[in-house]
Structure formats: structure tokens, C-alpha cells
């Protein structure tokens, strides 16, 4: 199914935003001092990767 203009825009912005979040997470994981926070960030990184994969799958 062909994306509408609106869908394409939101999809693009969402992918960009999630990519930015992923980059932050990678950087923050290295900075974090608290092991609890590091673990949390690692979980978020995995979640972000799943989101990116899911969103990207809709771009043919």
C-alpha cells in the first residue's frame, strides 16, 4: 500500500527521532556511572533498536 504524504512524514520524522534517541543512548551508556542506570540504558537501547527496525520495515 502506498503511503500517504502524512504517513510518510510521520514515519520519516519518527525514524529520525528514534535514531537520535539511539545515538544518545549509546553515548549515555558510556557516561553513566550508576550500574543501575547503565542497565536501564541498555534496555532502552534494545527497545530503540526494535522500534527502528519496525518503523523502517514500512519503508519499501
Amino acid at each position: 500500500l502506498q503511503l500517504t504524504q502524512t504517513e510518510a512524514w510521520y514515519l520519516g520524522e519518527s525514524i529520525k527521532g528514534e535514531t537520535l534517541m539511539s545515538q544518545k543512548l549509546t553515548s549515555y551508556r558510556e557516561m553513566a556511572q550508576d550500574p543501575q542506570l547503565k542497565a536501564l540504558i541498555e534496555n532502552l537501547e534494545r527497545s530503540s533498536e526494535r522500534h527502528l527496525s519496525l518503523l523502517s520495515s514500512h519503508v519499501k
Binding site: T6, Y10, L11, M21, Q23, L37, L54
Partner: protein
């Protein structure tokens, strides 16, 4: 806050700063991209994908909030007695209105269709025609929305305006209506300069709202977020979230400088000790925050 320097010699962030920025980012993604995307997506598979990532972002935000709260870095205030009293009154009035209409045996609170039936959109907003959410596409969401008074039907009880509680008579976004409430204690009002109508999210912001400039969470905290060495941001990322143009001509331009507090929503940063990301905040301004106008800049 003392400067922290990592092993690489670059400026680092405290755990609190990191967690707060992550919370802001997750809220932003959730509120301003995923939530409206769900409403605008016509394709079922794509809509489902947006729902899934939206759920993921809200779950992530909750986990970060839990971390902050456990450290005492995110204080929450209980509603005061007056707020609870007002709330109970609103519930009572609501029940009275609904009971009256139900007792008349009909669904008297309805969206009256115009001659052409429910169109969902007017004035060219609503690319998808999915309903009121499309107001975000250029409707003046402050005062009256087109779907409230145009051919798309007026929202009013069929029989009696008199049964409508005072707070509801202004309609969404109108005087006295939703979006026009003031936060207790003069705090978060949801809107500045009449735009935003926050609490509704980006749908409202994109449109009548002049959502231009930079999100407050980027100005107050990471606004002048210059990438640390190694971040290697792509060009589109250097402007921060929400500075891209929207799908329509009106575009989505980000936020006006300083207003909005968007991205955090009413629940967040306003409630930290000093209630501000700036100035009195214990975080202070970091070197990487002090230049530029909210742009991500590579050093």
C-alpha cells in the same frame, strides 16, 4: 554542579542529567511523533507499528521516571484539597448532564452532522480525514476548531445548552473550555501565547500553534546540545527534534523559543525542586549548552 570529565577528557553528564534527558526525549517521541502518527495513519499495519512504538516509548519513559523518582530527583506533589473538591464537582456536574440525557431516552449529546455529513476536516486540514485529530494540520486550535462549528457538525447537546456545565461551554480550546485551565499555583498552564493547548499534544501544536523554534527541553537542558566527540550526528539531527517542516505548507517548525515546556508535559520538570531547568536548577548550564540557538552542533 561540578564539571565531570570522562576518561576521554570530554565533558560528561551526571547520572541525573542523563536520566532527565532520556525522560524528556522519550516523552517527546511519544507525544509529538508517535501519538499523532497513530491518529493520522490510515494504513492498518503502519498504525499498528506506531501504536507499538508509542507503547514502547511510554514504557521507557515510565522506567526512567521510576529511576529518577527512586533517587529523589523527581518529586511529585499530591493534589491539594481544593483541586480534589473541584474535581468532585466536575464529576457531579458531568453525571447530572449525562443522567438527564440518558433519562430522556436518547443519545442527546451528539455530533450533529452538517448537510454533508461528518467530514472530519475543514479548511484543508486533516490530510487523512481521520477526524478531529487532523485539526493538527492547520486548524486554528485555539478558540474553536473547525470540526466544532463548520459543516462537520457542532458539538452541542441536542436539547439544552443549560445542562452543560459552565466549564464545558467554551468547547475544547475555547474560553473556559479544555485547554484553558490554569494549573494550580500558577504553575504549568499548558500554553503560552495562546498556542500549544498542551495536554492535547502535537496535533494541536502543529497547527494553529506556532510550534517553532526549539523545544523547551532542549533549551533548558539539552537545547544547545552540542554533540560530544564521537556522537557523529547526522545533519538532520543537528537541529534537534521537531524542527523539520511538516507535511503541509504550514509545516511543523518546532517550538517558539522558551514557551511550551513541551516534551515534558505537565507532569515533569516543573515539579523538580526549583521547577526550572534553567537558572536555579541544580544542573546549571553546561558548556555545551551555552552557544547557538538550540542546535545540535558538532564541536
Amino acid at each position: 554542579v561540578s564539571e565531570m570529565t570522562g576518561s576521554s577528557g570530554r565533558r560528561s553528564m551526571t547520572d541525573r542529567e542523563i536520566a532527565e534527558d532520556l525522560l524528556a526525549g522519550q516523552k517527546y517521541l511519544s507525544n509529538y511523533y508517535y501519538a499523532p502518527a497513530i491518529l493520522e495513519a490510515g494504513d492498518p499495519g503502519l498504525r499498528s507499528a506506531f501504536q507499538e512504538v508509542h507503547a514502547g516509548a511510554t514504557t521507557a519513559a515510565k522506567s526512567v521516571f521510576d529511576y529518577l523518582h527512586s533517587k529523589g530527583w523527581y518529586q511529585v506533589r499530591k493534589a491539594d484539597d481544593q483541586a480534589i473538591s473541584d474535581l468532585r464537582n466536575a464529576v457531579t456536574e458531568s453525571r447530572q448532564v449525562v443522567d438527564i440525557n440518558v433519562n430522556r431516552g436518547g443519545n442527546n449529546v451528539s455530533m450533529n452532522q452538517g448537510p454533508g455529513g461528518w467530514t472530519g476536516t475543514q479548511y484543508g486540514e486533516g490530510q487523512s480525514g481521520m477526524g478531529p485529530s487532523s485539526v493538527s494540520q492547520g486548524a486554528r486550535w485555539g478558540g474553536e476548531s473547525s470540526w466544532m462549528h463548520g459543516g462537520g457538525g457542532q458539538f452541542q447537546p441536542s436539547h439544552q445548552q443549560g445542562n452543560i456545565p459552565a466549564w464545558a461551554r467554551g468547547g475544547f480550546g475555547g474560553q473556559g473550555g479544555f485547554g484553558a485551565q490554569q494549573a494550580p499555583g500558577g504553575g504549568w498552564t499548558g500554553t503560552q501565547y495562546g498556542e500549544g493547548q498542551s495536554g492535547y499534544g502535537p496535533s494541536s501544536l502543529g497547527q494553529g500553534a506556532r510550534w517553532g523554534g526549539e523545544p523547551s527541553w532542549s533549551t533548558g537542558f539539552g537545547g544547545q546540545y552540542q554533540s560530544m566527540q564521537g556522537l557523529n550526528l547526522p545533519s538532520w539531527a543537528r537541529g534537534g527534534f521537531a524542527q523539520q517542516s511538516g507535511p503541509g505548507n504550514a509545516g511543523w517548525t518546532g517550538t517558539q523559543a522558551g514557551e511550551g515546556q513541551s516534551g515534558f508535559g505537565p507532569s515533569s520538570l516543573g515539579q523538580y525542586g526549583t521547577g526550572s531547568w534553567q537558572g536555579g536548577s541544580s544542573m546549571g548550564r553546561q558548556p555545551w549548552q551555552q552557544t547557538g540557538q538550540g542546535n545540535w552542533q558538532s564541536q
